[in-house]
Structures are given as structure tokens and as C-alpha cells.
Symmetry: C2
Subunit: 211 residues, 2 copies
């Protein structure tokens, strides 16, 4: 049947276009223009728009690939058969290793679309770097809810923790990637300590008010 043949070649074309877009986004940053992407793919703008609708569509498709890949890696880490602290540390390390290995991808994923329709009021706040982080947070939240017994209302607490931990990981990783103040292992250790509650176990300084 030629319909399937057409569809297959269309899908293949789509993948080629995505790979071209990937190359140019990785080279030029997230502000790459549709013209540039089309040129890299050896074609012109309108066919990009026929395939992806608009720039948001292209970027969404592009982001999904990388997001899925990262999510799979994190799944593996979070399912590792070690004790809890080791598992937390391993998950953090997996994420940090990923963003360390491909900072351009990471940077792209954090503000992929900038779509943000007018939205009438102020209730769509978290649209900026959200898609990946939201997915990660939600996913981690369900993992925590599944595995840890938090009592009544625990599911909500688990979601809060999921988003909070992901945000912690993200912010610390972002800062670390920019300044490189220490090794990855040290960063992982410090963050794991923080999640272990070391902040509330250490002593105040002798002088000054306590924290």
C-alpha cells in the first residue's frame, strides 16, 4: 500500500528534520531561527511549518526526544537495588552527569517554547522552564508516594517533595554548571546530606544567632 509507504517516508522525513533541528539548536542555542533550521535541513521554511505547525510544535517534538531519554536514565537510577541514601545520590548523579555531558541540550530543554499565550490573567505562571521539570517532579512524586509510607494525605506530601527535590537538583545543578565550584561527587554528597536533614542536625556557630 502506498499510504503506509507515504506515511513511513513522511515519518522518516520528520525524523531527518528533527535531527537537523537538533544540530542547529545545539550549535546556535535555543534562539535558533526557523530559517536557520530549514537551511540546515537543506529546505525552506514552509515545509517545516507543514510538518510541525509552528515553532512551538517543532520545539516540543525536539524536547520530547531528549526529555524521554533523560527520564529513562533517571528511571534506571531510581530503581537501582541499593539502600535509600545510595539511591538518592545515584539519581542526583545521573541527572548531573547528563547535564554536564550535554549542557547545550540541557539549556535548550529549560526554555523550549516561550509560547505562553496571553492567558487573560496570571494563572499559567509556570510555563517558562516548566515542561521537563514538571514532568520530572510529578514522576518523582508518584515514585515517592508509591514507595514511602507518609500516612494520611501522604500523596500530596509526596508530590510536594517530588517537585521540591527536582527543583533543588535543577537549581544546584544549574549553578554548579555555571561556576564549577567543586567536583560532581562533592556536589552530590552535599545535596544528599541536605536531603538527609543534616541542616537540622549540625550545631549553630558559637558566635551570632543560630540558624
Amino acid at each position: 500500500m502506498e499510504t503506509t509507504q507515504h506515511q513511513r517516508s513522511a515519518d522518516q522525513r520528520r525524523r531527518e528534520l528533527l535531527e537537523a533541528a537538533d544540530r542547529v539548536v545545539l550549535r546556535d542555542g535555543p534562539h535558533a531561527s526557523m530559517n536557520a533550521i530549514a537551511a540546515e535541513a537543506g529546505i525552506t521554511k514552509p515545509i517545516l511549518y507543514r510538518h510541525f505547525g509552528d515553532k512551538g510544535g517543532l520545539y516540543r517534538a525536539l524536547a520530547k526526544r531528549h526529555t524521554d531519554a533523560l527520564l529513562r536514565a533517571l528511571q534506571v537510577a531510581v530503581d537501582a537495588d541499593v539502600d535509600r541514601r545510595e539511591r538518592v545520590a545515584g539519581t542526583l548523579d545521573t541527572y548531573l552527569a547528563a547535564i554536564e555531558a550535554r549542557p547545550q541540550v540541557y539549556r535548550f530543554l529549560m526554555h523550549p517554547a516561550e509560547d505562553s499565550q496571553p492567558s487573560e490573567a496570571g494563572f499559567d505562571v509556570g510555563r517558562h522552564s516548566a515542561p521537563l521539570l514538571r514532568r520530572l517532579g510529578e514522576e518523582l512524586g508518584t515514585v515517592i508516594a508509591d514507595r514511602v509510607d507518609l500516612g494520611p494525605g501522604g500523596d500530596l506530601v509526596a508530590r510536594v517533595w517530588g517537585h521540591g527535590i527536582v527543583g533543588m537538583m535543577h537549581a544546584a545543578g544549574d549553578w554548579w554548571l555555571g561556576e564549577r565550584p567543586c567536583s560532581r561527587a562533592e556536589l552530590v554528597a552535599s545535596l544528599t546530606d541536605l536531603l538527609c536533614g543534616r541542616l537540622f542536625q549540625v550545631q549553630d556557630r558559637a558566635d551570632g544567632p543560630g540558624f
Copy 2:
């Protein structure tokens, strides 16, 4: 002397322009155009550029005001004379109350510039929503380093924690503001529990692998 007089009136003009920009950014979101801002101020584009250089300059000036205000509020919270847990909870609550009260401001602060010069390579990663979060993280890091005795290398750990905690607060707040899954007090309690290390104190579920 007329130089001071000129300067004063120029500064005053600048403040008027900033207030106009504030109004239109709060009304139209961060994608407000320079034309719109100029129109709101009752003038035209070029004088905006004479005052602020480029859009990034205007947005930076605009962001600084709100950032400073928020920082002052957080300073107060972090200096409160209560025990450590209460102080952590109070600081979180101050931040969340601020973003709850003025989500438009918050939204603007999170991606103010989008400047991101070409940068040649990939080492300026965290430019997207960074300025405010970076400042908060650095500030909190020094506060922690000042007040808590973390032993040798503790300053670095404190900075990691500062950025991590700020990121946790940010991500959880962003998600919460979008979905409103619970009251602010509940959110604060859950996050404080997380920082207290409750994640490592609770039991595994009876079934399934532990976390």
C-alpha cells in the same frame, strides 16, 4: 547648579518610565514590547533606549526593584528571632506569600531578559531564569555559612545548600501556584519537613521496594 537639577529630573524621569514599564509588564506579561511601554509612558521608543540602552537594560532595572524588595522581605524572615524550624518555615512562607500575592511580578522576574549573547560555546548555561534565583541562592548560602558550623569545606557546602534550597522553594512554589493543590500553610509544612530530613526518617511501604 543646574547639572544636579538636570540629573535629578533625569532620575525622576527614569523612575516614571520604570513605573510605566512596570504597569504594562504587569498587564501584558513579560513579552511586552518596547512600543507598548513607550506608549504607556506617553512617549516613543528612542527615548526609552536613551535611558536604558536596550531592552535588557530596561528589564534589568525593572527586575532590580522587585528583586530588592523581595530580598528585603526575606532578610527580615531569615533574621526572625525564633527557633530554626520556625525560621525556615517563615522564610518559605514569606517567599510563597510574595509570589502568591503578585504572580505577574514573579512571572516576570523569572525570565526577565532572554539576552543570552552568542556566548561562543556552552558555558553560560544558567542565564534563563537565573538572576533572581542566583542572588537568592548565593545570599542564603552566605547566611547558612555564617550561622551554621559545617566544619572544613563548610562554606562550599553552605553555598550548595543555599542554591539547592532556593531551587526547591522555587520549583515547589511554581508548581503550587499553577495547580493550587493545597493551602500555603500545608505546602510550607511539607517543604519544611523535607528539609528536616523526614524523607529519611519515614518507613518504607510494606509492599514494593523501599525508597
